[in-house]
Symmetry: D2
Subunit: 155 residues, 4 copies
């Protein structure tokens, strides 16, 4: 088992308390890494996460957005993200990946070895990293992956 | 466990040998009941089954079409269905539900208590009927259902 | 000016009286040649004609379907077409292209030199053939073509 | 004839020289007012303008984007817009509507009396304002409108 690395988040939206993967044991986690000005994220990934959020029970699947800004930092700051979330009526928790003092790639993105956005990450009920893929993944495949993790049952 | 009733099929397409559910133990079965002139089948159900057929391994998921003609029998006979299958390049096995001497509803459709088309039926690796729904089901939900049945593992 | 050849129709649906192009002078005519079991017709052409029918005033644009059966004649007869029209709730007039004793291609299809289905034909207010194309044509292009013919004004 | 008011633009992208409506006489102008963080603009309006830009000859139709920021000014400045244009590979000229010292609504937006974004404006070959509508307009309707203006011929 490869445990999913802890999130490093500078600021949270859509949640009253900070989220930690460790606190979500027992749920399948759909972690969606995106940038608000990345067309593939806006047109495919974000709407898909809204469908995942609507499809599954809150106690079964936790949807989390992670704003992994690795380019154009000046125009994708938290203030811009706040407007993006509001205008797109996103309801699931979204965290700002912690900027790294030592380069453009933020910390969580670096720890997971993500190569760009959108990246979909699935974490099982025990906290293990089970799926990570950049680009578009079809709804049928995302559903099948989540379904398989759900079927492993509560631990 | 409710065992899925056996198929009663008058004629098969896209398979050299007759299919029986009992012979498919160990696979998840996606059974799609349709009529070739039902718009909801043509626009939603059939393309979805093509995606399911493309998405999963043959040894994991068996996709079967069932032509459950319960209206307009004169123009949806096997000859017309053969053209429909050819023109739409459908590659998965399709059976013609056995007409019943005693009414419009064919036999398999009656045994399952289907109320119309399209109807999606999912059968688990042990042959149990696990899901039956008329109308459109989203790809995400279909994927999740199949994924859960797949995760129950080979028996 | 190339006058659009007269339609040769064996049977009409969705109209109380037989239609003749000559009787429609003053209107732009969108003539859609299709086969009920041609996937490109069902998925693209027919829905587009429904949009055209809904978009323009009846006094400006006449939408006419033409069932040009050139293959699989046995299963695309008028009885099957009647069911297709009913199930798809098509509201515009549809004629069955007159079968030709001397081959598979019906008469109107032959006169226009159509090479398959779907084929979109546009006829101006004076009865001149202005556009004929097989395959998919985008809504934007269809709209622009109709718009230009409409702007030529009543004659 | 209502002459389309002159554009007041603070900064241009995708054009070497400043554009003025008066310099475009003889062309039909499709003017698309948008905000880069308005979902209806990103999902519908902008892709439609890309299709319009691809469909028509440059000498016939001039597509112009106008960034009419009337809310969230701090995060939709020219630097952010530049990234948006780059990431979405927009190729048509885009101007930043001139901010007004006296309120949130920029000058061109105010002069046209626009009520929000996206707004589609069509201007004929003589410079007359012929169409202005907020919200989504179907491709078929946009095509028909442009086609009619094109058919009025060069002046």
């Amino acid at each position: 088992m490869i445990e999913a690395p802890a999130l490093e988040v500078a600021q949270w939206f859509n949640t009253k308390q900070e989220l930690a993967l460790a606190d979500l044991r027992g749920k399948v986690i759909a972690l969606h890494a995106f940038q608000m000005l990345c067309p593939g994220c806006v047109q495919h990934g974000i709407p898909q996460m809204q469908r995942v959020h609507a499809q599954f029970e809150r106690d079964d699947v936790a949807v989390i957005g992670l704003h992994t800004v690795f380019e154009h930092h000046a125009v994708m700051g938290p203030d811009a993200l706040k407007v993006f979330i509001h205008e797109n009526r996103l309801a699931f928790p979204i965290g700002v990946d912690q900027p790294d003092g030592d380069g453009n790639v933020p910390r969580t993105m670096r720890k997971y070895g993500m190569r760009g956005t959108p990246t979909l990450i699935l974490i099982d009920r025990q906290g293990a990293l089970r799926f990570q893929q950049i680009g578009q993944v079809d709804d049928l495949a995302v559903g099948a992956l989540i379904g398989q993790l759900l079927a492993e049952g509560p631990r």
